[in-house]
Symmetry: C2
Subunit: 180 residues, 2 copies
């Protein structure tokens, strides 16, 4: 079955600090036409950082899009040309002060493929050492430690709502159980 | 710890067919200022539809944002004023022809809270009956059935990359195992 679309025309709508918005006219598989609004984002990295007692470092921060404080795993945007591995080490240190002796890759994910070109890479970080956090000037967050089992229970109770957090915690939990 | 930001000014950048983009100036908890680019999206619904043999109905479709065909659980946008429950029934029927005798709510999730106001509601659909699909005029997709256990293995192998699909499949898998 033919599924692919091809771009006939593209119009740049907005080039901002973080996102770029464009509107493409595409040819559909049946020869028809349609418009596709696309948001481009540099992508980012998120980290499930877990200590030897299966406590996970979580961050609570205000998310202006939702007007609320959200509990998430530490995460941040890729800098220009930055490798995901390097971004992971940098963001974990900036937000929590932690460094890790061991990283496992939990995969890369598209968050909203219907309109948004944004990949997020998720890592599991273990063998943790504690240093000092150093946040960006416009970043305010609170670091808390929560048992992995409690986070899984919160997910099953619909009490954790951030996608990267849900994916990272559930994948980490399955992986750690399979290792035992 | 003070985490909240308050909006000082807002500027509409783009009002499109599906997304709206605005740029807000916010007051930070320390009294400083920052810009927040926000994309608003109507939100949507996704469905893990699973038959009595633990086969899951998946859709393969072209995603223009990534220029690739992606395997996902059936999903779609909320119409104006539509309830998530109704959207779930409608989208499952449109994309796969299925109707379900039983729905369980798997939660609502924020996909990219750093800049995007979009909720996705995920359901588990069981006791399935098969009818005829009826797609939107600009929608082309292929429906396939994949064993739940194989989808979980693909997620652990980093071979499924769509966030709603990863969250829905893992939550459904844990829930079904807990019921047994």
């Amino acid at each position: 079955m033919k599924l692919r679309e091809t771009t006939i025309a593209t119009e740049k709508i907005y080039e901002g600090q973080i996102i770029t918005v464009r509107k493409d006219t595409v040819a559909l598989p049946n020869g028809g036409k349609s418009l596709r609004e696309i948001v481009e984002h540099p992508g980012g990295v998120a980290v499930v950082a877990i200590d030897e007692n299966e406590m996970v470092y979580m961050v609570r921060q205000y998310r202006h899009a939702f007007g609320d404080v959200v509990m998430e795993i530490p995460a941040g945007k890729l800098d220009d040309g930055e490798e995901p591995n390097d971004c992971c080490v940098r963001e974990l240190a900036e937000e929590t002060g932690l460094s890790a002796g061991r990283y496992d890759y939990l995969g890369k994910f598209m968050l909203s493929p219907g309109f948004c070109k944004e990949w997020i890479h998720i890592y599991l970080a273990r063998d943790l050492s504690i240093g000092k956090a150093h946040l960006d000037p416009d970043e305010f967050l609170e670091v808390i430690k929560v048992p992995l089992s409690q986070l899984v229970a919160m997910i099953m109770d619909n009490k954790l709502q951030d996608a990267k957090t849900v994916m990272g915690i559930l994948k980490a939990w399955v992986m750690i159980r399979e290792e035992k």
